[in-house]
């Protein structure tokens, strides 16, 4: 998979990406996933607000709800949950499409006609998944914050107070971490889904195995990478003494 990713990167650096095809694919995988991302994001924000409020009530610290809920969402829960959703929708779609192309010999036909299937088919899809996933994650995170704000009034927290508390606790470091995670998760989903689809074999069963493997690998990698990024962020914050409120 690493060699595959390096090959895609090499082709990209050589300017072999067909950006027109990338835009088409962004519409296919990105735009069509917007509704699901927005809906899920709203509920993730609401759930975070609800759960954190329960904990804060024990300490009489409901005033910190906006900041803590948003910070937790941005730093961790938001990127991970939305990445899970996208790996299911975008990742599964891409691996199924590429897997079907492989088992029906469309990729062989492309090779025979003088094109490189990685360059012609996979690279635009990979870039579309990276870009779409990143943008969808950002939109998703913004919507989770909105979900928290909207839901706060149902749990007796003034939405204005919720919003005013956000900049007190959410730092640039949280925002930066969130953006970095969003990009890396998007990259993971792209590489895993394209690779699994490209390597499918054995007819319909093979495509099924590829999609299942894509989903599982994405979930595990997202969790592992989230852990390491969170650890690294924490260590860097301690060393650089930044990012604290």
């Amino acid at each position: 998979m690493i060699l595959f990713a390096c090959r895609c990167l090499k082709l990209s650096c050589q300017g072999k990406t067909n950006w027109h095809a990338v835009l088409e694919q962004i519409f296919q995988v990105g735009v069509k996933s917007l509704g699901m991302t927005v809906t899920a994001g709203l509920f993730v924000g609401a759930i975070m607000a609800l759960q954190i409020d329960v904990q804060l009530k024990d300490f009489g610290a409901e005033a910190f709800l906006g900041g803590l809920s948003t910070s937790t969402t941005l730093r961790n829960v938001g990127p991970v949950l939305i990445a899970f959703l996208l790996s299911g929708k975008v990742g599964a779609y891409t691996s199924a499409e590429l897997g079907t192309m492989e088992v029906t010999e469309q990729l062989n036909a492309i090779r025979l006609l003088g094109a490189d299937p990685v360059e012609y088919i996979i690279l635009p899809r990979a870039w579309a998944v990276v870009i779409s996933s990143f943008l969808l994650l950002i939109v998703g995170l913004m919507v989770t914050i909105l979900g928290g704000v909207v839901f706060s009034q149902f749990i007796g927290v003034n939405p204005l107070s919720y919003i005013q508390n956000i900049p007190r606790i959410v730092t640039g470091w949280s925002l930066g971490l969130s953006i970095i995670k969003s990009f890396i998760f998007g990259l993971l989903i792209a590489i895993v889904s394209c690779y699994k689809g490209y390597k499918a074999h054995g007819g319909a069963v093979g495509v099924g195995v590829a999609v299942q493997s894509c989903a599982v690998t994405n979930l595990i990698l997202i969790i592992f990478v989230d852990f390491f990024l969170s650890m690294l962020s924490s260590l860097l914050q301690d060393v650089l003494q930044v990012g604290y409120f």
Partner: protein, 242 residues
Amino acid sequence: MIQIEKVTKSFNERKVLDNVSLSIEKGECVFILGKSGVGKSVLLKAIVGLIEIDCGSITVGGLKVDPTSQETLSQVRKGCGLVFQFSALLDSVNVFENICFGLRARGLKFSEENLSRLVKDKLAITGLSEAVLERYPTELSFGAQKRVSIARALAVEPNYLLFDEPTTGMDPIAIQGINRLIIELSTQLKVTTVVVSHDIKSALEVGKRIVLLEHGRVVFDDKPENFKNSTVPLAREFQLGL
């Protein structure tokens, strides 16, 4: 000329091709027959480097087929057109784009007008109307997909045209149409044609030479008229199917 020398290929521990040697001269129309799973399609794909053989050698037009050398492989494939068993048309583009895909991929520059004319000419050879050009492969019948696949292979003006089970799954009228097309391509366009099939009737009608594979080996290699009188057991089995 296609030269196949002592080619062996195994998958896991199952030997599919066992020391196969074969020469196909320029302009010949050769049918490679055998039961299902005997290695016919594997041989066809090995000729164009889609499958790497275990030992032996294959040369096409004087070029050695070497899957490890992208440059050589590219040169070999420039002269070949392969019509896949299930057409392998690109689902995401329409018929027009499918047919001219090879031309665009090879960087050949055409004006839109010339490209359109070329695509229509190739489509006409296969007997399809221009009405299908805007359609997508999933909107076509199996027979129409096969014809589009042939047009796509012809668009790159190949010296060698390879067919993988061209008549499988088709009705008798469609089979006749495909057979006529292969005869025209072979006799009028002088394209070297290799057809992998288990359709003995088409082989006897269309082929100028029949090669019979059994257990990965060549057991018969001669003219169709000699096939009818052959005493090779598998040949007699095929004759019973007539």
